[in-house]
Amino acid sequence: MGLDFSVIPKYLDIVLIGALWTIAITLGAAVVSFFGGIFLAIVALYAPAFVRWPFRVFSFLFLGTPLLLQLFLIYFGLVQIGIDVPAFVAGVVGLGLHFAVYNSELFQTSILAVDKGQTEAARTLGLSRMQALRTVVIPQAVRDVIPPIGNNMIALLKDSALVSVIGVSELTLSAQRAIGSTYRPFEFYVLVAAIYYIINLGMEAVLRRVERRIQASR
């Protein structure tokens, strides 16, 4: 069975709609992982021990296990405890939590790296501990860590292909649908790889621009 790329145009709209879903999932999970990461970092650094420990166990488990396994846990686990969420939501939450744990490690280092004088100055000006953290420390910490966080988000785009396994109709699954009726896996998976590659290039270009802006603002 040779190659025949002429079957593609007929299914192109299905695949492109899948690509839009992939972008939506990536954006949704990126937002979850960003704010989740900040939240986890603050808990790890400032929360009392009885709050910190459960989160530490959670982070430990999520750092040491594959994303695919975590997706199965979240998808089937939620159903098990009676919460029947759409696969899309399970996918966004699973991807988001996975990367939140990774981002949290980055945020923790960068929060600690913000000069102590900044907090002291803010406290002297009458800000509460929480206010100082929120308005003085976190913004600086976030700025310093944008490049590696951006790299995590590019990794997130590629890992979003995994949510096809729990039945989210994104790019990968839409290609599988087209393959189901054409029996042309090579053609469609190469097409899908090319689309991921283009989205990936786009994200890298945006990240580089943002990095330049940050450099200039210092």
């Binding site: 594959p66 695919l68 199965f72 090579f186």
Partner: protein, 210 residues
């Protein structure tokens, strides 16, 4: 729990074997990739850069699918395990190429210049001056690559290789105990990663001594 545990242990062996073979293939690809990327010849540099860009720029899962499901269309017949090792190995090789290249180019330029001034050839300078120093720099980041690799072997569950994640998924389906199955597989993964970490730490200590 006791009933399923032996199956998880067996699956853990498959994951270990996959990780080992993938790591070896990945290192071979990375060495070739690094030589290509640092070559004097434009064509080789382009080839190396294209390899890294394509394999890091697309999802590993899709690369596996192209090889396993698309392979037969272009005359490549592999069983799922073989496709898993080759697909993941070539993928992780692209990431390792960047690690190795990064270590080599971060060795001070003066070192190469001094070696050349002393009359060494380009290759001699690389082998006896640059590489020994770069080796020390690359072990830890390669360890990070290996850690990621162990976790990415889970992807082959999607082409139905019976390893840890596949086994967990199967028993989640039949026992309706997602959390317990996750924990068993998770702990086994973490033991494997811990052992890999010990090996990397040992290699790093060895390298720092020289």
């Amino acid at each position: 729990m006791q009933r399923v545990f032996p199956f998880f242990l067996e699956a853990a062996w498959v994951t270990i074997l996959l990780s080992l073979l993938t790591a070896i293939l990945g290192l071979v690809c990375a060495i070739l990739g690094t030589f290509a990327r640092l070559s004097r010849f434009w064509a080789l540099r382009m080839l190396g850069a294209t390899y890294v860009s394509i394999f890091r720029g697309t999802p590993a899962l899709i690369q596996l699918f192209i090889l396993y499901f698309g392979g037969p269309q272009i005359g490549i017949q592999l069983d799922a395990f073989e496709a898993g090792v080759i697909g993941l190995g070539v993928n992780v090789g692209a990431y390792m190429t960047e690690t190795m290249r990064g270590a080599i180019i971060s060795v001070d330029k003066g070192q190469a210049e001094a070696a050349r001034t002393l009359g060494m050839s380009r290759w001699q300078a690389m082998r006896s001056v640059i590489l020994p120093q770069a080796m020390r720099l690359m072990i830890r980041p390669l360890g990070v690559n290996l850690n990621t690799l162990v976790k990415s072997t889970a992807l082959v569950a999607a082409i139905s290789v019976v390893e840890l994640t596949y086994t967990a998924q199967r028993y989640i389906g039949s026992t309706y105990k997602p959390f317990e199955m996750f924990l068993i597989a998770g702990v086994l993964y973490m033991i494997i990663i811990y052992i890999v970490g010990l090996g990397v730490a040992w290699a790093d200590r060895k390298a720092q001594l020289h």
